[in-house]
Symmetry: C2
Subunit: 376 residues, 2 copies
């Protein structure tokens, strides 16, 4: 019987997970190097230690009955260490080995029957020409490991630009991908239980700015056929991964109407935040249910929604305009408790509940709401 | 600017309040004599001290920008002490002076234009006959102060029984009320802001067993006219009280179709738990908004709901049957983190989302769900 859940990583995903787990009556212990992390502020206990501190990781295993993580860039060794020492940890290290390496991830997507853009890896500069021969131009170049929120990601329209990128990447292995003629970016948040039971949330449509997710529209404004296909592909990916928990598969929808798999996140995802406010069982609760051996809940949406991220801008740590924002009864606000609103840091988000269709008026309303908030 | 909220009382109401306040980005400090109280488990800090420990109460005021409470039976002196020393506390002590005294409360309801059953107070045994002359028989006899969940409450069908009750009450002042020929019990959860803005949730219908709320049906299955009247009366009560925050007014609906005011709770209420799961802005968020000077949110319901309390039965502290309960996707579970499931203790609740009408089938479904849970 699970009474306490361990979480590696104390950011906002861990925080939202902990808030749900507490509501369901679980104890939560988080491990994060930063004291009073966003998750630590709502958990029962925080172990302050580096993700790679194996003694501390083991302590997390000892204090809980199941360990999970909110940040896929954690040292794979930590998860492996828990597994080797007989602690329950999910998703399994085998999942991380796929998702931590962009090349392995893309190859895996293809093996699952998910088309991807053409790509090749470049570990040494002399491999660039061969890679460009596969990928063509323009390309998107990403570090194979460790990038997120647009970090470790560049565009190159020419061979010369690609060479400069390789120099900027400082010798890190990169993946060179053919740039996609993208109609929109989609994501499917899904959850899988240990008995192969699986659920998928409605497909979400994502708008990024400078590589950071800014807005999610749910459900995506796409043909039913494409939506069903994306959900089916996401289910296939989950099954092949053998993942237990909530995960997300990101897709590009090309202008030609083709779905191309982009990334797998083996955890609750920013594009699934809307599920907290407009579904009875959010992506976080599905994750808790999956890892605790409880049945998943077939998703239903009470209403359509637009999720808007609230980023820091470096002008100050105090969020203003909240009263103005909340004067719109369609808005639900989430603030992550981060002390410093560094530029581009994800500080919170809000969900706009949309009763009619998600048209330009609805999007402008969400945008106008975002403009009410400021940092000082 | 409010960054931290102080809560006097660490029970489940404080816990659910804290979970919302954390989601909105506030720090929460709770004061409760019991370490690791339900609220303390999700708050940033708990001050372990008696409610009447004025030095500790003042410390709570110092560590926060606004103090509120989740338990109206706290020493009125604590709230008064904070007010006298310039700390912000809401609802105000003047509200507690009305609601802590059942006789003052009933007189206040009448002054607000809310009819009540006939009643009289009995402070000395020789006042019983005069009281029965007003109230008639049968009567319900309640201690003037301190009762809750059916404690301090008795029925008497004869003068002799009433005398026995007075003896059982051990000399405490009591209120003698004419027993109401009740069609159903209703409650209106409402919230009021400092600028007189007010919102009321749909009227809820409550079923008690042995004086403890067991089930709430929302919205109540009553005529619109009665519902509107109950909401109007609740708004009047809030305005006259000058309360800032969420409160609840309980009514009896007599078989003759008359609304009689019964009690005022100056805090979020058990009968408003459904608002967490089927409205975008729950009674707890309305409370946070009211005390923090944020605009209230006009309530809307995503669906109908039945709330079912989960009580301890003294057979054990471990809740079983959760997987079976959650196999119904209409159910949302809340567990309060109390260590010991003493008989009749409120240990949690669940909300059943009801899509169709709330008919016998829906009620039986909720009842069957409750039967899946057990303690061991």
């Amino acid at each position: 019987m699970i009474e306490a859940i361990g979480v590696i990583g104390g950011g906002q995903l861990g925080r939202m997970l902990a808030l749900v787990a507490k509501r369901m009556g679980y104890r939560v212990v988080v491990l994060d190097p930063q004291p009073h992390s966003p998750c630590g502020q709502v958990a029962d206990e925080q172990i302050v230690a580096a993700y790679g501190d194996l003694a501390a990781i083991e302590e997390l295993g000892r204090r809980t009955q199941i360990v999970t993580y909110e940040f896929e860039n954690i040292a794979i060794d930590s998860v492996g260490h828990l597994e080797q020492h007989g602690y329950r940890v999910t998703p399994a290290g085998s999942v991380l080995r796929v998702t931590q390496d962009r090349a392995a991830e893309k190859a895996f997507l293809r093996a699952c029957g998910v088309p991807t853009t053409e790509f090749a890896t470049v570990e040494r500069p002399e491999e660039l020409d061969a890679a460009l021969a596969i990928a063509g131009l323009p390309v998107v170049i990403k570090t194979v490991r460790g990038g997120y929120d647009g970090k470790g990601q560049w565009r190159a329209a020419s061979r010369a630009e690609a060479e400069n990128v390789l120099r900027d990447a400082g010798g890190a292995a990169v993946i060179v991908e053919r740039a996609v003629d993208c109609a929109c970016e989609l994501s499917v948040v899904a959850a899988r239980a240990s008995d192969d039971e699986a659920v998928t949330f409605p497909v979400a449509e994502n708008v990024h700015e400078d590589g950071i997710l800014m807005t999610t529209v749910a459900p995506a404004r796409i043909d039913d056929e494409i939506a069903l296909r994306a959900q089916e592909l996401a289910r296939n990916v989950g099954q092949r991964l053998g993942i237990v928990g909530t995960y997300c598969v990101e897709f590009f929808l090309t202008r030609a109407g083709e779905l191309l798999g982009n990334e797998i996140a083996p955890r609750p995802h920013n594009s699934g935040h809307f599920t907290i406010d407009v579904t009875p069982c959010s992506q976080y609760e599905q994750h808790v249910r999956a890892i605790c051996g409880l049945p998943l809940s077939p998703p239903r949406m009470f209403s359509r929604a637009i999720m808007t991220n609230v980023l820091g801008d470096g002008r100050g740590d105090r969020l203003g305009g909240v009263a103005e924002l909340l004067s719109d009864p369609a808005i639900v606000l989430h603030v992550y408790g981060k002390r410093h609103a560094v530029a581009r840091r994800k500080m919170g988000h809000f969900t706009t509940i949309v009763d009619g269709p998600i048209d330009d008026a609805a999007l402008l309303r969400a945008q106008a709401a975002r403009a009410k908030l400021f940092w000082s």
